[in-house]
């Protein structure tokens, strides 16, 4: 017998509480507008999570910057079938990552997925008792308490963030004369990613999508950059095609080049930007005159 329902009726928070108290084992699948989340539990702890079929070790390690794609490709070629445990062992033996890197990446990924789903307001869910995670995955048990607490906090913070930055369909640009002492700003890897996409033709929502950030994360980052005087809102972009040059997204930047569900990485080759020759000439002319 499976537990079924909708998140607007029973929140994920409540469900996690249930899983924890009843020390449940099984799989919770949520299908929302933003995609599909699968959470696997063992005796009340979350042991594996995936968002839209991700969650394979190869992509996690790339995503969290623990591995380079070339290193991964070399090792993947030696595997006869996708198996994260074997992949992990080989990567460790090759000296590319440590066991700790692997555990930490998996744990962070699981927390991210749960927190993403916690922010969903609706979605269909069902819980299948005793369903085990895919055998090729490495399971890392995580206590639900800490995640739920984090989730609570996020909900409250999100309400505040929405007040401060109501519209995500606006674009950003770097401020003319950053007022604050720029050398004091500390940027995280996600913040940096956002910065590299800032362009008056990309909306905040687009930047979030390209950099794989959820609403909570993007709002928090953009507000931090705004408060630091680094960027400002330029309003809704004009009806022109999305920017193709420069800082504009050239594809999904979290793009590890890996197809959904794992497998061998395809070559991730950002194309030379489609900047017109005349633009290069203008740059040359200007720099000559500097």
């Amino acid at each position: 017998m499976a537990l079924k329902g909708r998140l607007r009726d029973i929140s994920l928070n409540q469900l996690l509480n249930l899983v924890k108290l009843a020390r449940k084992t099984g799989a919770l699948t949520i299908e929302g507008e933003q995609g599909r989340v699968e959470l696997y539990f063992k005796e009340g702890k979350v042991v594996h999570a995936s968002l839209n079929g991700d969650g394979d070790l190869a992509r996690l390690l790339l995503k969290f910057g623990r591995l380079q794609e070339q290193q991964l490709r070399a090792v993947l070629q030696q595997l006869s079938a996708p198996d994260d445990k074997e992949l992990g062992l080989r990567l460790i033996n090759a000296g590319y990552v440590s066991k700790n890197d692997i555990l930490r990446a998996i744990r962070r990924h699981t927390m991210d997925v749960v927190l993403t789903a916690l922010a969903w307001e609706d979605g269909k869910f069902h819980f299948e008792p005793n369903k085990a995670p895919p055998p090729e995955r490495i399971v890392v048990p995580i206590n639900l308490d800490s995640i739920v607490r984090e989730g609570d906090q996020r909900q409250k913070e999100l309400a505040t963030l929405r007040e401060e930055l109501p519209d995500l369909n606006v674009a950003l640009r770097f401020t003319e004369n950053p007022s604050t002492n720029l050398s004091k700003i500390k940027l995280s890897r996600d913040e940096w990613r956002v910065i590299s996409f800032i362009n008056p033709r990309n909306t905040i929502a687009q930047i979030a999508k390209y950099s794989g950030l959820d609403e909570f994360q993007i709002r928090r980052i953009v507000l931090k950059l705004m408060r630091n005087g680094l960027v400002e809102v330029v309003g809704r972009p004009t009806g022109r095609a999305p920017a193709v040059s420069s800082a504009a997204p050239q594809g999904v930047s979290t793009g590890t080049g890996l197809p959904a569900g794992g497998g061998a990485p395809s070559g991730h080759r950002p194309k030379a930007p489609a900047v017109e020759k005349s633009v290069v000439r203008r740059l040359i002319k200007f720099i000559r005159g500097l």
Binding site: G65, Q70, L187, S245, S246, A272, V279, V280, F286
Partner: protein
């Protein structure tokens, strides 16, 4: 408005920050690495050192220069930064041959992302024990068509020349495609 991005990379202390600072019209953002105090947050909060500078051509065109973090452990930023770049500059501290091997690795990694045009700048040529550009080319095993340019990152004319040589290389790349 159109923005164009170029990346300045190279080993630790090669002069990337200096290079960008010399030509940029805005204060360079240059943050030191620091372990975050946000231990409670789930997302990675590892901070990274980063530089970026800006050159405004006119109301319609802005060039951004992004400097890669020097610390090896921030390699993961490279690919993100490389995305959509018009070209890149590899700075080398010509006085420290112990960094040449790493410089070569950096060049190889950036070239593996895409075949975006690039130039190598043999920096700190004002110092007495600087290796000449042509010798650096040989030890880095660079093909004859790769430009290895003398550079003094503190000197504006020198930085301009390097940028211009990169732009010429970019211009030529249109004819090859």
């Amino acid at each position: 408005m159109q923005t164009v991005k170029m990346v300045v990379t190279g080993p630790f202390a090669a002069g990337k920050t200096e290079f960008i600072q010399t030509i940029s019209e805005i204060a360079v953002v240059s943050t030191e690495r620091q372990i975050s105090d946000f231990t409670r947050t789930v997302k990675s909060s590892t901070t990274v050192a980063m530089d970026f500078g800006r050159i405004t051509v006119d109301d319609d065109l802005v060039l951004y220069l992004f400097g890669t973090p020097g610390q090896k452990r921030f390699d993961f930023m490279w690919e993100i930064l490389a995305e959509g770049m018009l070209g890149f500059i590899v700075l080398i501290d010509s006085t420290r041959s112990e960094t040449f091997r790493e410089a070569k690795q950096i060049i190889d990694i950036f070239r593996s992302y895409s075949d975006t045009p690039f130039v190598v700048a043999a920096n700190k040529q004002d110092l007495e024990d600087a290796w000449p550009p042509e010798d650096i080319r040989i030890v880095l095993e660079l093909e004859p068509w790769v430009k290895v340019l003398p550079c003094v990152a503190k000197d504006k004319e020198s930085v301009k020349t390097v940028l211009l040589e990169l732009l010429y290389t970019i211009l030529e790349s249109y004819d090859h495609n």
